[in-house]
Symmetry: C2
């Protein structure tokens, strides 16, 4: 295996009732002023907000609110949060929500600790934050795995860029899948597909051969696929929900990437599609993945053939490796249709070729798992996605 | 999935050259007095000791030696190390070796921070240490995964007990498989079988159904089996060595146990066998596993059948689940012979039935993955092992 450093990962409290267990243990270690950060208010409807406020009050914490964090969180929103944190001497941030809330808070955390503009710091000076307000993530919608790492996807509206930044790592994470029961099924599926996408983007990264990280990855992919089908059949099944939640975290805690070089080519394209259209992340990925793979599979036929056999268990009778590889990609495309995700950009009302040209021109920054895609080829891919 | 808490795990530096990378980063964070702890001196022959001393001196550290740590480290040795640590105001412990050295240091670390006898504290007062001298593990022989957790197996010679204690968790871990190239092949295979044993003991633990941890576990087991065969064919293959090293760490970093209740029934028996005979750990396990499984598989036929199919990929044509389950255990037994591990206690010169009676009477403390074994059944098992 290639060399790697596996950084520390957050302590995880997993399962029903883990919020109370986590907070009663962890709140003792933190200061008085606790920012409760969330999105559009669904946590007020499903009772999570009340539960958190109750425990915080019992522990004599002052609550500072930061709400209205949107999907595809903006850099402007980060600044708003950082200002609130500074003005209120926030000691600890509780990010309560899905990947957007968690990502936003990771950057709020570090922006609140510096007078410099964090965007300029990271993208112009190429300096990365060394300290931030400590934080935790209470996950109420899973898929992104954002709670397990310090990367954050932020949209800079002025620059029309949706891209990765480096922020704080959560001190601890609460994963209670019962909170996901009120998430709309469309978002559940889209989130779970995001998990599958993380697995695939890692799996098709560079390594001389299939290493044990890839073999673990295949197990996760099979589990995600099985449980997406299950959750559609039995939306209330807590066991299925909990496995999807843990799959999401493992896929992004770094484990699958060990000994691999990955670059998240499909994510790069989707991020720019999101920057220009604000489309749903998982839906965008579902449209992009099969078409990108049809463009690149010939350069790594062995790996795509292995993927077809190990992940999709396709019948290989009479097929050569190239045919097997292609059948794997076709099976992925059929699965996307089966679970109700879109296969075409037109299905999510994206038809403007000028926008697609801009997306293509701004998303060719990945080195490529098989080869780097040119702007023109990304544009071709996006046209095929229409 | 069942609820769990996934505690923090050490930062891992993995790969060739990772020792220098790790120490140059981490030594800056620690005090002046560094204990270098090791076993019989193999690290002086293979150059690791010189490399460590050189880097420590470059970083102006005082070196305190603690050597001669034996396989099946004794409680007396722990006391010796703790006294050296106290007398020399040791700030940091570098455990350099395999599982025995690492386990010994975990308990030295906590014993050096208390005036109470740590054995009495843990086994009589049932109190567990809250602080220890910070430590790191530089692994030169893999298999136990000891570097990834705070559990330690210590032999109390006075009490004829070899059992698990709780000590310190390493701050960081160095895994450079090139250091394992000088380990005798017998120990390489025995260590790798210990890894496989950890996987199996976890896999056959209690859960209502096969969860994603089990599916990851199957991937690790297949990888260990493949790489044991490979390392016998190509002992110098660094890729194979590195995968075995990482498998060993993953098997004991807690990941596979999430959402499971495990009790390490075969380990409990082997520990007492080791306490009475000082036999090699991996060899003892190899003898015990198939016989224990033949005693218990009927109580969990589904899981044993799944194990046969997913891990050993056996041909199931015409077989019912019970036959498949049994064939899986037989395949394990054949594999043990194939890789040159013993199948009978007599092969490792253990024939004394009185000793086996004592082993049986002191190792029935596990609740059992399928059911608790009585002393009499453990004795029966041990007689079958002869």
């Amino acid at each position: 295996m290639k060399s790697f450093i596996f950084e520390k990962i957050p302590k995880v409290y997993f399962g029903e009732g883990s919020l109370k267990q986590a907070l009663s243990t962890e709140l003792k270690k933190i200061g008085s002023n606790v920012m409760v950060a969330y999105g559009g208010g669904s946590i007020k409807k499903n009772g999570v907000y009340d539960e958190i406020v109750k425990i915080l009050k019992e522990n004599d914490k002052n609550i500072i609110e930061f709400n209205g964090i949107m999907s595809n969180p903006t850099y402007k929103k980060v600044q708003e949060g950082a200002n609130i944190a500074k003005e209120n001497n926030v000691d600890f941030i509780l990010a309560v929500g899905g990947g957007s809330v968690v990502d936003c808070c990771k950057i709020v955390s570090v922006q609140a600790k510096t007078e410099e503009d964090i965007w300029k710091l990271e993208f112009e000076k190429r300096e990365f934050p060394k300290s931030g307000i400590p934080m935790a993530a209470i996950v109420t919608a899973s898929g992104t795995g954002a709670e397990m790492n310090s990367g954050a996807v932020i949209t800079n509206e002025e620059l029309n860029m949706k891209t990765g930044m480096l922020g704080s790592l959560a001190e601890f994470v609460v994963l209670d899948s019962t909170y996901t029961l009120t998430v709309p099924m469309k978002q559940v599926i889209s989130g779970a597909f995001d998990t599958l996408s993380h697995c695939m983007e890692t799996y098709f990264g560079i390594s001389e051969e299939t290493n044990v990280s890839d073999e673990i990855n295949e197990a996760i992919m099979r589990n995600v696929i099985k449980n997406i089908r299950e959750v559609i059949k039995n939306p209330e099944d807590k066991y299925v929900r909990s496995e999807l939640m843990w799959d999401s975290s493992i896929a992004e805690n770094g484990l699958l990437k060990l000994g691999k070089i990955t670059d998240f080519q499909c994510h790069q394209i989707e991020h720019q599609l999101g920057a220009y259209t604000n489309c749903n992340h998982g839906q965008g990925l579902a449209i992009i993945h099969p078409i990108v793979y049809k463009h690149i599979y010939k350069e790594n036929i062995n790996k795509f053939a292995r993927y077809a056999k190990e992940v999709w268990k396709i019948d290989t009778t009479g097929l050569n490796d190239e045919e097997i590889a292609l059948k794997g990609i076709e099976t992925l495309a059929e699965f996307i249709k089966e679970i109700g995700l879109p296969s075409k950009l037109s299905e999510i009302n994206i038809t403007d070729k000028e926008i697609l040209r801009k997306v293509a021109d701004t998303s060719n920054i990945s080195k490529g798992c098989c080869r780097q895609l040119t702007s023109n080829e990304i544009y071709e891919i996006l046209l095929e996605c229409l």
